[in-house]
């Protein structure tokens, strides 16, 4: 079928172009990797300790699951590591834990938590030492014996415990993979951006006289438009499938129910393809279309929650966002990936996206026919 020949040539030409290969395949994965590493799920912060490498104090610190405790040989290394952000806090403990314990913390959440933890552990340690002193005085034993009496009593003393539970939806579910955060946003942003960019080929085709040449063959304008439209959709789909497969294999991103994720990807590819076709028929020069395309793609992505999550949008912005196909697709992917949604759960999103695609394709075909035969 001739439409497939045209679409296939579109794809072939995209694969020929090294720069577009970078933008289509390499950059999205790189961004997902970088964003995932920077903002992705919890990695355990560390506290560094200089001065002791065993003993009760260190065990008490290590009992907290929120931090990893590493011993560091020299004070200078400790300070440097805190400065670089490798450690949330650094602790300088004097020999035999007497006198002043010095604590350096980073000015961030993890540093503050480390400060609270160290203060609590030291308060408990002070209580233990005071009890030991008390036993030594009352029983007349030496300090070491007194301390072992204290520790064995403490081991069998019933203590008050705290149980914590949380309420409200977590902004980002904790069981989402480290890189899953924002992967679908990047997918949408890039699929749309690439398609808008590839529609410049439509204008190039006209500038080169290729479009006229195609119209001069026994091929109907409807077939040519179908082919060019399919070409745009194919470009979007190839990239979409690549990003989904790549991120799930390389970074363990979970995209959720495959049929539902596939349907959303296809629907969004159709929207992007329609928009690309319209763009390619509206502008005269590749520069105009390229500039406008990139602006539109980034603008819609920002409005549609691909840069800042929709959950953080205020009331009005949230309503505005719903005018973008990106917001609907983002909602759909969130439903599928985070809340285990399946096809029926994303039918509203699929419906809206199909509507967008239909309108954009109709407009694009109408404009393209006009510029092809004047």
């Amino acid at each position: 079928m001739k439409a497939l020949t045209i679409a296939g040539t579109n794809l072939r030409r995209m694969f020929r172009d090294r720069t577009s290969l970078f933008f289509v395949f390499v950059l999205p994965l790189m961004l997902i990797l970088v964003l995932g590493a920077a903002f992705g799920g919890p990695s355990t912060p560390k506290i560094g300790v200089v001065g002791v490498d065993s003993g009760h104090f260190l065990d008490a610190l290590r009992a907290d699951r929120g931090f990893r405790v590493d011993t560091v040989a020299r004070e200078g290394d400790l300070l440097a590591a805190v400065e670089r952000g490798e450690l949330a806090a650094g602790l300088v403990v004097p020999p035999s834990l007497s006198g002043e314990v010095r604590l350096v913390v980073r000015q961030d959440g993890a540093g503050e938590q480390a400060r609270l933890l160290v203060a609590a552990v030291i308060a408990a340690e002070n209580g233990r030492l005071a009890s030991g002193e008390f036993v030594a005085r009352v029983a007349g034993t030496d300090t070491a014996d007194a301390m072992s009496i204290v520790d064995s009593v403490a081991a069998v003393t019933p203590v008050v415990s705290v149980s914590t539970s949380s309420t409200g939806d977590a902004l980002f579910p904790a069981d989402l993979g480290r890189f899953s955060l924002g992967a679908s946003s990047q997918l949408l942003l890039f699929m749309f951006l690439t398609t808008m960019n590839s529609s410049v080929a439509l204008i190039e085709s006209r500038r080169l006289g290729m479009s006229r040449r195609m119209v001069a063959t026994p091929t109907s304008t409807a077939t040519i438009m179908l082919g060019e439209g399919l070409g745009r959709v194919a470009v979007a789909l190839v990239q979409g499938v690549f990003i989904i497969a790549g991120t799930s294999l390389l970074f363990g991103v979970r995209w959720g129910d495959p049929p539902a994720a596939a349907a959303l990807t296809l629907a969004f590819a159709l929207v992007a393809g329609g928009a690309g076709m319209l763009l390619g028929s509206l502008f005269r020069t590749e520069q105009q279309a390229g500039g406008f395309g990139v602006l539109t793609a980034l603008g819609l992505a920002a409005l549609g929650g691909c840069m800042v999550p929709l959950e953080l949008f205020g009331g009005v912005m949230r309503d505005v966002a719903l005018f973008t196909p990106h917001a609907w697709a983002n909602q759909g992917f969130a439903e599928v990936a985070s809340r285990s949604g399946t096809l029926p759960g994303v039918l509203p999103e699929l419906g809206v996206l199909s509507g967008y695609a239909a309108v954009l394709f109709a407009l694009g075909a109408w404009r393209l026919r006009a510029v092809l035969t004047r």
Binding site: K2, T5, I6, T9, R12, R13, R16, D17, L208, G209, M210, R212, R213, M214, V215, A216, T217, P218, T219, S220, T221, L372, T373, R374
Partner: protein, 316 residues
């Protein structure tokens, strides 16, 4: 020209306006099988607009294009398979190889995969690109790209080949190769519609020529018929030094001179009788300090015909 061969192309009353420009104004002509027909006219005369309507990529405001009696329009597909269209601008995908470019259009012409491969190999031979078939077109020389561009119109063995200024921007050697190519195609029985603003190409290649100016077909016929329009007239070519515009003005004022056109480094004059008026021309120029380096008296050519019909030069 009267002939028994059936018309391959027939254009009747073609008109096309763009906003306030009448690009084509009531143009009619026919081309018979095996005939090469040239549309000769300066830039902006309307040649490309006519060709575009013939190829079915531009809708005429009025008039018909028939190929073997079948109407061609932007909405028809079937008769387009009989036309091989080679547009004025170089239309090849630079990032595809010669073979890929040809195969793409062979498929759009409706050839099967196998038939396309066979025709592509054949056409690569015809345009002399077999050795470079699998290089990207962006690595071709200008002449090679032109040949590929022309080859793309030959894939489906059309009966009418439509070429819009196929030698534009090509070095003289490639130009000769292209013209030889076209002549061979004509000998094989193809009807050819050829536009150019080079008088020499029209004279060398075309059985009949339509002279086109400002959207109108102002004359039509064989070279001999067109030159006969001039009656008993001569053409004088002068090579001059200095300000050509000034020389042109001076020559125009000589009473026996019917038309003047600046051309290259000299002037073309249309006169009734060269022997009689040459002295007057030369003395007028000498009086105005225009140095004449060479004089040539010749039969009129198509350039002279154009000058006679429009009062203007075909090109500067």
């Amino acid at each position: 020209m009267t002939t028994d061969t059936p018309e391959v192309l027939s254009c009747k009353g073609l008109r096309k306006r763009f906003d306030d420009v009448t690009a084509v104004d009531d143009v009619s002509f026919t081309i018979a099988a095996g005939e090469t027909y040239g549309l000769l006219g300066p830039n902006g005369a309307g040649k490309t607009t006519i060709i575009s309507m013939v190829a079915g990529i531009l809708r005429p405001d009025a008039g018909d294009v028939l190929v073997e009696g079948v109407p061609v329009s932007t909405r028809t597909t079937e008769p387009k398979g009989r036309i091989g269209y080679v547009p004025q601008e170089l239309a090849v995908y630079p990032d595809l190889t010669g073979r890929e470019n040809l195969t793409f259009f062979a498929r759009l012409q409706g050839l099967s995969r196998v038939a396309a491969a066979r025709r592509v190999a054949h056409v690569l031979g015809v345009v002399g690109l077999t050795d470079r078939a699998d290089d990207r077109a962006e690595h071709y020389s200008g002449g090679m790209r032109r040949r590929l561009h022309i080859g793309m119109g030959l894939l489906h063995e059309p009966i009418l080949l439509v070429l819009d200024e196929p030698t534009a921007g090509v070095d003289p050697q490639s130009r000769n190769a292209i013209m030889d190519n076209i002549r061979e195609l004509a000998h094989s029985g193809l009807a050819i519609l050829y536009t150019t603003h080079y008088m020499e190409e029209a004279e060398r290649l075309c059985d009949r020529v339509g002279v086109i100016d400002a959207g109108r077909l102002v004359a039509e016929g064989t070279r001999r018929e067109l030159v006969a329009l001039l009656g008993e007239r001569d053409r004088i070519s002068l090579s001059v030094d200095g300000d050509l515009g000034h020389a042109e003005d001076v020559a125009r004022l000589v009473p026996a001179v019917l038309g003047v056109a600046a051309r290259g480094r000299g002037l073309e004059l249309l006169v009734h009788d060269a022997r009689q008026c040459l002295p007057a021309v030369l003395s007028a120029l000498a009086e105005e300090d225009v140095r004449v380096r060479a004089v040539e008296v010749d039969e009129p050519n198509l350039e002279t015909v154009f000058l006679h019909l429009t009062g203007r030069a075909l090109r500067g």
